[in-house]
Amino acid sequence: MARIRAFENAAEEASRGGVSAFGAAAAAAEVRVRGPLHLSTGQEAVAAGVCANLAPTDLLTSTHRGHGHSIAKGASLERMMCELFGRANGTNRGKGGSMHIADFSVGMLGANGVVAAGIAIAVGAAHALRLRGERAVVACFFGDGAVNRGPFLEGLNWAAIHRLPVLFVCEDNRWSATTPTAAMTAGEGALARARGIGVDGLAVDGNDVFAVDAAAAALLSEVRAGGGPRFLHAVTYRIKGHVSVDAAAYRDGKEVARALENDPLALAAARLGETEVRRILDEAQAEVQRALQVAAAAPWPDRASAYADVQDTGAGRWLG
């Protein structure tokens, strides 16, 4: 959680006209995060609590708001920061950016720029695990807004009829961009909807990392035992705006204030010792600072690489 928070804060700063530590010249020279950035600040407990129960061989799919999931699954902060800076040694060689970060070396199959698109991919990956006789499971993260897209129904149904090893995690931060999700969602909530489709599960306070951990552990042990897919509904809050440039002025101040009181890091800190917490935070901070340094100095991808990894069939005919 501390590493996620530190990463998000640094990325946010670096997206605002550059990293101040590097000065104005650096900003002008594009030493910064490019493009839109969907921060998971305040939602760290969901990622951390779920991924604590995953092995490196387990797989994960994520959303446009995926930094936390990647970090919790074990992706390198350094290579992630390089990716945000659009550098050649980023996780995706500078081709993906924040919305496409993936690290296959730790089973992280990718963020996704399309709401709910990761659901079918997770289901397919789980289906492949089954067919290949592997014992791993797939964790599939999506937001509360995604429960209103068709792939939610199709993907849960598919996983259920095949009893596939998937843990669906609805990371419910109560907002879909600038719209409160509740106003757009009928029925008794995400878990009831999942049950109606045939996937059972649990609801949990998504800001309490211990509760998330316990619920994920319980559900994952059922999934690993061959019980088929399970659903975790984790209620949390998006402390920042929808995207880095969004001041989120449309929100009620009281709602935000309540959320800040309920900060998952503060809640966790209350259960650990003061010194322990300080140590963790300092370490995370130092690691992120190193990542920033590396990213700022990292090489740009060369233009020729724009033609690499498109496809093999007919490679080299791209200008034709």
């Binding site: 594009e30 490019r34 493009g35 839109p36 990716e83 659009g86 550098r87 050649a88 980023g90 995706n92 500078g94 081709k95 993906g96 950016g97 919305m99 496409h100 996704n112 720029g113 399309v114 709401v115 709910a116 807004g145 995604a146 209103n148 897209r149 068709g150 879909s176 961009a177 600038t178 719209t179 106003a183 757009m184 969602t185 449309y250 740009w300 991808p301 060369d302 233009r303 690489s305 724009a306 033609y307 498109v310 005919r317 791209w318 200008l319 034709g320």
Partner: protein
């Protein structure tokens, strides 16, 4: 006459259409707060949540419901945020909206305007940067519009809402803040191109954001003694064949340029048509057939800018 941004111009056209015609409604994600590009600002305050309808994240049903609304007598303006997400609603656009009137034997029509912004949007990578105008031009039943200026965005959005057909209305994400003078009474009919600059040596056809790069390149070419006639197509279907052919007949050379991928882009249609009809020399410029990368050098590789245009102009020799 007022100075408006491209986004404000669209907003103004919409406000006027909604004022004049109670059948016009808006539906899409986040439209109530003005849309994430401000292209619906103030409309829900003015016309209420009944006519400016916030929707769930359900692209297929946003578009499908719009078809149902149109069949039942409304004129929906449908917000798809970016054309990339409209891929989630392709059945509804192509199988339902475009073909409804024909399949129904004319009993009803699915007149609606689908706003599906195209184009690069700095740092947004492969799932937020596509230009798919060629797809829509290939689909019978659809009109296709791609305005380049605030004035045209005002006038063409009004024309699209009024036309009664399903329209793929393709604004460009990097033009939202472009400001310009907008006259409320300057009507622009669908299907009419604009000759933005005259020149006798070569005809350069473009649309959307590429028009601005084309004007820049034409000015540079002039300094090198090449007279470039710049035509902003504005509407891709129907496209203004007469204006383009007349210009080409005069200049004897055609260059079509667009930001969409060159292979299978709408430039091919125009180039092929002109070559077939006039037998003159034609060239096309478009993005290479690569996804748009995130990093700047990669993104730039997919950009059709004035420098590339100039090189293509000069390549006619």
């Amino acid at each position: 006459m007022a100075r408006l941004s491209y986004a404000e111009a669209a907003c103004a056209a919409l406000e006027r259409a909604m004022r004049d015609d109670a059948r016009v409604v808006v539906l899409g994600e986040d439209v109530g707060r003005g849309g994430i590009f401000g292209q619906y600002r103030g409309l829900q305050e003015r016309f209420g949540a009944g006519r400016v309808i916030d929707t769930p994240i359900s692209e297929a049903t946003i578009m499908g419901a719009a078809v149902g609304m149109a069949l039942a007598g409304l004129v929906p303006v449908v917000e798809m945020r970016v054309v990339d997400f409209a891929l989630c609603a392709m059945d509804e656009i192509v199988n339902q909206a475009a073909k409804a009137r024909f399949m129904l034997g004319g009993q009803a029509r699915a007149g609606l305007v689908a706003r599906m912004p195209i184009g690069l949007w700095s740092g947004s990578a492969a799932q937020h940067s596509q230009s798919l105008e060629a797809w829509f031009a290939h689909v019978p039943g659809l009109a296709v519009v791609a305005p380049a200026t605030p004035q045209d965005n005002y006038a063409l959005l009004a024309a699209a809402i009024a036309c009664g057909d399903p329209v793929a209305y393709l604004e460009h994400k990097e033009l939202w803040s472009l400001a310009g003078e907008v006259a409320e009474d300057a009507a622009v009919p669908l299907g009419r191109a604009a000759v933005l600059r005259e020149g006798g040596d070569l005809t350069l056809v473009a649309w959307s954001r590429t028009v601005h790069a084309a004007l820049e390149a034409a000015a540079q070419a002039q300094r090198r003694g090449i007279g470039v006639e710049v035509i902003d197509l504005r509407t891709l279907w129907p496209w203004d064949r007469d204006t383009v052919l007349a210009s080409c007949a005069r200049t004897g050379r055609l260059l079509v340029a667009h930001e969409a991928v060159r292979v299978g882009g709408f430039g091919a249609e125009i180039a092929a048509e002109v070559a077939e009809t006039l037998g003159i020399r034609v060239k096309r410029l478009g993005s290479p057939r690569i996804p748009v990368g995130y990093a700047k050098p990669l993104e730039d590789e997919a950009r059709v800018d004035a420098a590339r245009l100039l090189a293509a102009i000069e390549s006619f020799g």
